[in-house]
């Protein structure tokens, strides 16, 4: 098992390197971030001085190498814009995003798993049709539009819920306040991913329901309930793990839009601003972090797979 994990980690390294290379070189195509600083009060000389300080006058390969060397030591540079360490900026913004994503992930799975399984087990029933249709429509709604509609109803019309930030400005922190702030963003996030999940789980479950081993189980006379609850469900774990792994990058993407609409002070918001400002080190930091998260998610998925599926031999 340990050897298997090591092997998976070894495979992840070139992927991670590839990501940094791709990132860095794409960004080098973007043009000089110094352009952003050009203004009436800044002389050409000052810009050049600053560029030299930031290492931007060197060839791109050298720049990348320098960045990589530093990154290996845990130094991801300083934000051009805010003059703060990238690690620190990210550190400040990570918690709200993790909170938002974590809760959304848990909730969406809590809805999708039973709904998908129920739908498959009762294929062609009215409930099945309802669930499938709802999931289709659900996955077709742009999340930002849903967010706007939610804000319109629950904030602007009804005034029930706050629509921006994590806390109400000017008040002391309280759990209920934060929870109230979370209702809308989490709700939108869950809604926008749950449809796809239901369909995936339903499809996998339908496939399982057709397997020969379910016929064998039925032939044992153990009863329909046990056939499904034991024999089918255990096999459904595999697709559930898969969807779990797929979810991480999806939620990461979703958080950019949702955080923007709800002014949620997380990584998504940071990402947007870094992109708008062409803040290279920050963009590198954020994309590297997200890539690492995705790779770890993949790794965890693989390991869980190996644990659940006895036919996978991890050697």
């Amino acid at each position: 098992m340990i050897r298997y994990i090591l092997k998976r980690l070894l495979i992840a390294i070139p992927v991670l390197l590839g990501i940094t290379i791709l990132d860095y070189f794409i960004m080098s195509l973007a043009g000089n971030p110094m352009e952003m600083m050009i203004g009436p009060r800044i002389t050409q000389a000052a810009i050049e001085e600053r560029a030299a300080l930031l290492g931007l006058d060197k060839p791109i390969l050298v720049q990348y190498w320098n960045w990589l060397k530093e990154a290996m030591q845990g130094n991801f540079g300083y934000s051009f814009k805010q003059n703060l360490a990238v690690t620190r900026l990210i550190g400040n913004n990570v918690a709200p995003t993790v909170l938002l994503m974590g809760l959304s992930l848990v909730l969406s799975m809590l809805i999708a798993i039973p709904a998908g399984i129920y739908s498959a087990v009762h294929q062609y029933s009215k409930t099945d049709y309802a669930i499938v249709t709802a999931s289709f429509i659900g996955s077709s709604v742009p999340s930002f539009f849903l967010a706007l509609t939610m804000v319109y109803f629950f904030n602007l019309r009804l005034g029930w819920l706050p629509s921006s930030g994590m806390t109400t400005l000017g008040t002391a922190w309280s759990l209920t306040d934060t929870l109230r702030h979370m209702v809308l963003p989490v709700g939108v996030m869950v809604f926008s991913v749950v449809g796809v999940n239901i369909r995936y789980i339903r499809a996998s479950m339908l496939e399982i329901m057709e397997q020969d081993y379910l016929r064998t189980a039925k032939a044992k006379g153990i009863g329909r309930r046990r056939v499904i609850n034991k024999h089918a469900l255990r096999n459904a774990l595999l697709p559930i793990i898969t969807i779990f792994g797929m979810q991480i990058p999806m939620l990461f993407s979703g958080s950019v839009v949702i955080e923007q609409v709800f002014s949620w002070p997380g990584l998504g918001l940071l990402t947007m601003s870094s992109i708008l400002n062409r803040d290279y080190p920050l963009i590198m930091g954020v994309s590297l972090l997200s890539a690492v998260v995705v790779l770890i998610a993949n790794l965890v998925t693989d390991i869980l797979y190996a644990i659940v599926d006895p036919t996978i031999q991890y050697t």
Binding site: K7, I11, T315
Partner: protein, 336 residues
């Protein structure tokens, strides 16, 4: 055919080792020895049957002959030229003369093409016919395999399993081959259809002077169609003889075991005949040392574990009877 038999294809010391783990960063130390040092001749115009259980490597041998697998060693001499050593380009024309019929007729025809396309495209590619002669050639092909001529515009799913196998045979024949590798051509068919196809194959051989390598696990079918039969077990040939000799007087315990496991279609003779082999075919990864069969052989002696028995002639008729078991031979002689 006794005197002037010409060797069409000679296989010498053919080997195919697959790595036991397909993927991985570490170098592979274990190999599946699918085909290990196999040699045989196929004479012009004859049918050589190749029987064995799953994992015996019989299909791998066939696939190597048609270049679907690359041998890891040994040579395949077709009319004296070694196909293994030749470049792909040079080999193309010769390769055309060795064609294959597959086991599963359902998947041997592209479901997205109609019959005309399926049959015509290889012929046109090899310039065996020109556009003008195409229709006539196609009609002839259909006649050969006894299919109605009006089927050219149809798609494969409109045919029954037996008809599809006829089309599979027609497809192979369209390239005017000399040698056909028949890889379990009747195993997937219903009993009543099997006989049709077997008879068709026999007729075609006579008519077109074809040479067959007939690979199968059903002993009856192999016996029916083959002039000689080679028995394989775990990547090695155990015995080669004519069908009658092989089944009347097997010289290898494995052949005897195969024979007695073949259910006799006579309720009056039940049980008693069986020598039921114990256990199952061992893994081809690190197969047993010495004689590969010794782990299941009721007659095994100590020497069987260490010495690899050579395939030697045990009788000298017109067609030599070869067997790779000196031990059983000795035991039988001692008993008499």
């Amino acid at each position: 055919m006794a005197e002037e038999r010409k060797v069409l294809l000679r296989v010498e010391n053919l080997r195919k080792y697959y790595p036991a783990h397909s993927q991985g960063l570490w170098p592979v130390k274990e190999f599946v020895k699918a085909v290990d040092d196999v040699s045989f001749d196929i004479y012009e115009g004859e049918t050589l049957g190749l029987v064995g259980e799953s994992g015996s490597g019989k299909s791998t041998v066939g696939r190597q002959l048609v270049a679907l697998e690359k041998p890891d060693g040994g040579s395949i001499l077709y009319r004296g030229t070694d196909l293994v050593k030749m470049s792909d380009r040079a080999i193309r024309e010769i390769r055309r003369e060795i064609q294959m019929v597959f086991q599963d007729p359902n998947s041997s025809l592209n479901p997205r093409k109609h019959i005309r396309e399926i049959l015509a495209e290889p012929m046109l590619h090899h310039k065996l016919v020109d556009k003008a002669g195409l229709d006539k050639a196609l009609q002839e092909l259909l006649d050969l395999v006894s299919l109605p001529r009006n089927t050219l515009g149809r798609y494969p799913y409109e045919f029954s399993g037996g008809q599809r196998q006829r089309l599979g045979i027609a497809k192979a024949l369209s390239l005017q081959p000399k040698l056909l590798v028949l890889d379990e051509p009747v195993s997937a068919l219903d009993v009543s259809i099997q006989a049709q196809i077997l008879n068709l194959l026999r007729d075609l051989q006579k008519e077109l002077k074809l040479t067959y390598l007939f690979i199968a696990h059903g002993l009856g079918a192999v016996h029916y169609i083959s002039d000689r039969i080679a028995v394989m077990y775990l990547g090695k040939i155990m015995e080669v003889a004519t069908g009658t000799e092989l089944f009347c007087e097997p010289r290898h315990p494995y052949t005897l075991a195969l024979k007695s496991a073949d259910p006799l279609p006579d309720p009056a003779r039940r049980g008693g005949l069986d020598i039921v082999l114990e256990g199952e075919v061992p893994s081809a990864v690190n197969p047993p040392s010495g004689c590969r069969f010794h782990t299941r052989c009721p007659y095994a002696e100590a020497s069987c574990r260490t010495d690899v028995p050579p395939l030697v002639a045990v009788s000298n008729g017109d067609i030599p009877h070869l067997a790779a078991c000196p031990v059983w031979q000795r035991q039988r002689e001692a008993r008499q």
